[in-house]
């Protein structure tokens, strides 16, 4: 009896070894970079983690095909290195000693990639399934581009500044005109003072209009 059991086990073991080896049909290589992802909080990769991995793959297969026949024992791991990297296959218990087609496994993993990553606290980059590409998440696009909003703010400030300066310029201009007309009115009221029969204003030196008679007489007056 014991010998029969031993025989069965050895057959199964050999069969498993046949099914799971590097570059086998329907086998996938997994590469894990725990230290890169977690740094000081890195955990060690041991048999328990391997058990969790088998469980996650079995879970993914169950969710994908929604038939609850895949067991943890169906997932075979081999060639575990220090990297950490290893190969795995999923066997089909209904059919004898065959592996589930790679496309099914790939689809199942893709569907549940997020759950698998989170179980190990890793990401797409640090828990790599070589040959299974991940879909890139779309960039977050706000409804109005941010730059347009900033531009609007800047432009409003500029326009406000221009309006303020133009209006203050117009006001200053008006005030200056009003003052000039007031001054003119004031001067008209003042009597024209005369000296030697000539109005005082004519005596003021105007640029370019120097009265030669008076200019020559300048040295008669002592300077102030």
């Amino acid at each position: 009896m014991l010998r029969a059991l031993l025989l069965v086990f050895s057959v199964v073991a050999i069969a498993h070894a046949e099914l799971c080896k590097p570059d086998a049909q329907n086998a996938f290589k997994v590469r894990i970079s725990i230290k890169t992802a977690l740094g000081d909080n890195a955990y060690a990769w041991d048999a328990n983690e391997e058990y969790l991995f088998k469980a996650m793959v079995a879970f993914a297969m169950r969710r994908y095909s929604s038939k609850s026949t895949t067991q943890i024992s169906n997932v075979l791991l081999c060639n575990v290195t220090d990297r950490v990297s290893f190969w795995f296959v999923v066997t089909d218990s209904s059919k004898n000693v065959t592996t589930v087609p790679g496309s099914e496994v790939e689809a199942a993993i893709r569907m549940n990639r997020n759950r698998i990553n989170n179980a190990f606290l890793l990401s797409d980059k640090t828990l790599q399934f070589l040959k299974i590409t991940s879909t890139l998440s779309p960039p977050v696009e706000p409804s109005t581009p941010v730059w347009l909003i900033v531009f609007g703010v800047v432009l409003c400030l500029i326009v406000a500044g221009i309006i303020f300066l133009v209006v203050s310029g117009i006001q200053k201009h008006k005030k200056k005109n009003k003052e000039a007309t007031e001054r003119e009115n004031l001067e008209e009221k003042v009597e024209v003072t005369l000296e030697n029969g000539i109005p005082c204003e004519a005596l003021d030196l105007k640029a370019g209009h120097i009265n030669g008679v008076f200019a020559a007489d300048d040295d008669r007056f002592t300077s102030l």
């Binding site: 879909t135 531009f151 500029i158 003021d204 102030l224």
Partner: protein, 611 residues
């Protein structure tokens, strides 16, 4: 009879609020984008610290004398460039017209560079920065191909900002986002120059001082970055052998000349608003020295950041190689670190040479990364933006950096616009009763409409052309005629009397020698060398062509003949003004001399105009 004491400057000419405003405006005009993105590059490629020797010699014999000449001229004659040169001699009026033309051409394209800066500024308010990630392609399986082959920063600059065409002959379409930013930039320029120096004098306090603040912040930040010391050592290590190359001396002379913004007419305009009794000699020396010190000061943070970028690129290269090796040999993580990389590589190469060869590892050399030198827009919009992504808190650094660039460019724009505005105001293009705001508005509006050409797909190629041809050779020619005109036509004796009257002390022998002989000679040599170098090869440009085999390397192309004709036109139009106006005046003089009632106008000088 009492003669009212003649209050000087009752001619209604605007004046500076205080001396500091004037000095700051001159400094702001001189200190521009070139101080940040051209000087450090020249230092790097011309032997580091050794470049300072020709630079300071050029400053002493070319920069400071020409600057003093312009400031003294403007202050003495109290007119803009066209009016001033007409006063010196009507035959030299062409120098003023040429300066005015150069100011117009430069204002057009310079503000477009500021448009790019503004575009990057308003895009810096997002997380993540838009130039840090490649956009996805249509079916979301990977990244956009053009972006993937080059880099995300390159893609954002050439595609998202410029939307550049592969050839200058292809104009492409108007880029509406650039048009918006261009409108905003011209609105800012209008806001600041609306009433001439009344408003620029207030704005300059911010735009001239703010860059120094930001440079200091970047200096402190830059020095704390890893790899900063490598960058600085690389920049400043003197290599005296480069001084044997005449190209280095030429670059030093042209850098000083263009950096001080001479022959634009803007400095003459600024100085014309001064009181005549002002020490222009001290002003000139101050402005020139501050300009050069700023160049040096700016090169320190720039090179710290470049050293940081090179070191990060080097580490990335190493890390990629390490990951490849670890994956290939299934070694545990962190078994190969950057420090023991070389020993591991030699060990593995001896034991498994075929496997190592199969990996196709890139050779990582820090010197090679440091050697990638860039100047101009490439430095600001490609290299620096890439370095900013790597810093923590990138948005803040990006915002600070682009505001600083904008202030630097804006204060230079004030000088350019003043060089256009003041002569037009004096020529009384608009009636005197009309407000000044109208003239500045018209100038800004017309410039905006013309500058729309630069927002086309091929716009940046055209800006390169304007930069290389309109803002280089004509300035050298005009400056040469300026010195010759003042020294030999106005006569140095009269000018030195004027300067003596203004500064209150006798003109130093140094100025006599430099103005009479050294500066004109230097200008002539620089001009000859410059033109010879340009003529040596047919004018070409590098185009960004995604369909090119060597992409992402830019494709070398030659300008088509019609573009070359435009280049020649741009370079010669301001220069041709000088003989044209002289000839025109000669003809007018000949006609007038036949008229017996004609009295020749008095030639005025400094003191005559103000007594």
């Amino acid at each position: 009879l009492s003669a009212t004491p003649e209050t000087p400057k009752e001619d209604g000419r605007p004046k500076w609020d205080n001396k500091f405003q004037y000095i700051l405006s001159c400094i702001g005009f001189a200190v521009g984008l070139g101080n940040v993105w051209r000087f450090p590059y020249l230092c790097q490629i011309h032997g580091g610290g050794a470049f300072l020797i020709p630079y300071f010699i050029a400053l002493l014999f070319e920069g400071i004398p020409l600057l003093h000449l312009e400031l003294a001229l403007g202050q003495c004659l109290r007119k803009g460039s066209i009016g001033a040169w007409n006063t010196i001699s009507p035959y030299l009026g062409g120098v003023g017209v040429g300066s005015w033309m150069v100011s117009v051409l430069v204002s057009l394209y310079y503000n477009t560079v500021l448009t790019w800066v503004m575009w990057y500024f308003i895009n810096s308010f997002q997380e993540p920065l838009p130039w840090s990630v490649c956009p996805l392609n249509e079916n979301r399986t990977g990244f956009n191909e053009e972006c993937h082959e080059s880099t995300a920063v390159n893609y954002f600059w050439y595609r998202k900002t410029l939307n550049i065409t592969p050839d200058i002959a292809e104009s492409g379409t108007f880029q509406w986002w650039l048009i918006l930013c261009l409108a905003a930039c011209w609105a800012i320029v209008y806001l600041c120059t609306i009433r001439g120096i009344e408003t620029t004098g207030k704005a300059i306090y911010v735009t001239a001082i703010f860059p120094y603040l930001v440079l200091t912040i970047f200096l402190i930040q830059g020095l704390t970055l890893p790899g900063a010391t490598e960058g600085l050592i690389y920049l400043f290590t003197p290599n005296l052998n480069t001084l044997k190359n005449p190209r280095v001396w030429l670059d030093a002379a042209t850098q000083i000349f263009f950096s001080l913004s001479l022959a634009f007419g803007g400095l003459i305009a600024f100085a014309s608003y001064n009181p005549t009794k002002n020490d222009c000699e001290k002003d000139a020396v101050t402005v020139a020295i501050v300009n050069s010190m700023t160049s040096l000061y700016a090169s320190i943070p720039v090179f710290s950041v470049l050293g940081f970028k090179a070191t990060t690129a080097y580490w990335d290269c190493l890390d990629r190689n390490i990951i490849n090796i670890i994956n290939e040999f299934d070694l545990p993580e962190e078994s190969i670190m950057r420090q023991n990389y070389t020993s591991w590589i030699s060990f593995l190469n001896s034991s498994y040479p075929e496997k190592i060869a199969g990996l196709k590892l890139k050779s990582c050399d820090l010197q090679e990364f440091l050697d990638q030198s860039v100047s101009g827009t490439g430095l600001a919009f490609i290299v620096f933006t890439q370095a900013i992504i790597l810093m923590p808190g990138s948005q803040a650094w990006a915002i600070l950096f682009f505001i600083m660039l904008f202030s630097l460019g804006l204060s230079s724009m004030f000088g350019n616009i003043e060089g256009v505005f003041t002569p037009l105001l004096e020529l009384q293009i608009i009636p005197k009763s009309a407000p000044k705001e109208l003239l500045s508005g018209i100038i800004c509006l017309i410039s905006f409409l013309i500058a729309l050409c630069f927002t086309l797909g091929s716009g940046s190629y055209w800006i390169d052309i304007f930069d290389r041809y309109a803002a280089s050779v004509p300035l050298l020619v005009l400056a040469f005629f300026e010195v010759i005109g003042v020294v030999y036509i106005y006569k140095i004796k009269r000018f030195s009397e004027d300067v003596e009257w203004m500064t209150g002390r006798k003109l130093n022998l140094f100025w006599q020698i430099t103005w009479r002989f050294i500066s004109p000679l230097l200008l002539l040599i620089v001009f000859m060398a410059f033109v010879t170098l340009q003529m040596q090869k047919p004018p070409s440009y590098t185009a960004w062509n995604p369909k090119y085999e060597g992409f992402p390397i830019k494709e070398e192309k030659v300008y088509p003949p019609w573009v070359q004709a435009i280049c020649v036109l741009l370079a010669s139009l301001p220069c041709v003004c000088v003989p044209l106006v002289a000839f025109f005046h000669l003809v007018k003089q000949k006609r007038r001399s036949k008229d017996p009632s004609f009295v020749p106008p008095e030639v005025s000088s400094c003191q005559g105009a103000n007594s």
